[in-house]
């Protein structure tokens, strides 16, 4: 189990890497979305916004209407953001669940994989 602080620390590292990745910037162009993260074990929620190809800071709580909801254990969120976890593998096994339109799911799936590979 990861605490909210640990998730926030891991996210900050991931955010920094993502926001300097030119390939990701290209992939995120024109895709402004609100994403909710729900930790299935702790019940804690977080919110991320993508705007103008930039990932926002992590906000505590489920804020605004989400376009996408990502559900995973708190530890998987932390591992994902630290880059220790292959997101594609976790989606395929059903341990990370994405809910949203098929296009949004497609984009988030791809961008998280690129973030993992490009770290």
């Amino acid at each position: 189990m990861a605490t909210a602080e640990e998730i926030a620390e891991a996210y900050a590292d991931w955010q920094e890497r993502c926001n300097v990745n030119t390939r990701l910037a290209r992939m995120l162009r024109g895709w402004d979305r609100t994403v909710h993260l729900v930790a299935t074990d702790t019940g804690e929620g977080f919110t991320i916004a993508v705007s103008a190809s930039v990932l926002s800071d992590l906000r505590s709580g489920l804020v605004d209407q989400p376009d996408l909801v990502v559900s995973a254990t708190s530890e998987d969120f932390a591992d994902l953001f630290w880059g220790d976890l292959n997101p594609s593998e976790k989606y395929l096994s059903g341990e990370i669940v994405l809910a949203g339109s098929s296009e949004d799911v497609m984009r988030l799936d791809a961008m998280s994989m690129v973030a993992f590979l490009d770290q």
């Binding site: 594609s88 791809a110 994989m113 490009d118």
Partner: protein, 484 residues
Amino acid sequence: MTLADRTVDVVVAGAGYSGLQTARTLVEAGLDVVVLEARDRVGGRVLTEVTPSGAVVDQGGQWIGPTQDRLQALADEYAVSTFPTYLDGSNLEVRDGWVHPFTGLVPTSDRDGSADTVATLLDLDLLAQEVSPTHPWDHPDAGALDRITLAEWVESAADTQTARSLVATAALAVFGCGPEELSLLYVLSYAHSGGSMSSLIRTAGGAQERRFTGGAQQMALRLAQHLADRIVLDAPVVSVSYGDGGAGEPAGVTVTAERMGADGVRSPWRVAAQRLVVAMPPAVQGRIAFDPPLPGSRQQLAQRAPMGSVTKVHAVYDQPFWRDAGLSGQVVADAGMLRAIFDDSPEDGSHGILMGFIAGAVDRSSESDGAAGRQRVCLEELARAFGPKAAEPIEFVEQRWSEEPYSRGGPVAGMGPGVLTACGPSLRTPVGPIHWAGTETASVWSGYIEGALESGERAAAEVVATLEGAALTGTAGLDESSRQ
């Protein structure tokens, strides 16, 4: 019209899954149907065989994935169970002659190249969402998208050779065609019909997710039992004469098949009907003579939608030894004879089976190697990935679909540039009393068994609708005297 040996409401030409589903739907609507099948079996591009050692191998179509609901319903109806394609452990990537383990969808040895592959696939999938699976020619940029090949698009969309190579491997596995043979518009429409290109190439969550215990042909065999003597095997359709009832012509069709007699001699056998459903790929349909000739666009389609080239090979072992080494049996290779390999062992692991595809230009050029030469190269490549044990299977079987006269290739038709926009509408548009089925005509999962089933339902619905209309006008009523 010549004198018929038999008269029915509808003739279905082809007893693959599309023809069988067409016939079943028509019979359930109360119509008298005969199915003419060229081969001595049903199932078309789906063929399950048992090797001498008792291993069950699917020589053609074999998988079922999410959203393939018709196929799942058929399996449920006939109590055919499914099981997940084996996925535990690491996949292998062969790149520049070196073998690298990886997990997940894309190889990870060249991380930049793999990230580029993911980004390229996303671009392709997003573009595919804009293209209708049924009317791709209506896309505002259809002309431009149909002017270039997938290879040309990938050349500019991808930054790395790794991405180009992985997209090529995907095209070969999915279409039996290299990316240079495929129109981009065709690929986009085809991918959208199954959700996305990512869905088509995925195992878990995608087209390769599950297999049928006992093989994928079973439901076709059960459908054939259901249709009983309405199916005539060993009866290739050679010619069709037809009229639409206009200008004093008789409405309907006369279908001539070369039927094998008890004496082993083929002789013409004519079936008269109000409607014909042609349930086969355009390239196979092209061998049937039509009188009057079909419209030019349909004739062109039959020439310009050639089948992919694929040979499916199975190496059978006493046990799936690679699993003990933590390997899933899946391989993606950037070169060689086998660009994609899967663990095709039975669910109970009573045999170990590695299955691979020889596809595209390599498949065509491997004809000169002969069966022994192909086996030698395939076993070398299996041994490179899985070690020396892989070079010594107890059996090695291959199915060369290009040598099947009533498939002419596989797994599906591949259209090059310019075909869809010029001839695409003729894929499904009826010609007088002639309707078109076959997975190539499907609006969902085109190229897959699910698409074959959907196409059969759609063609049957067209026929029922037109015959109902005809019955109302009294020009082609379905009275009992028209049935044999």
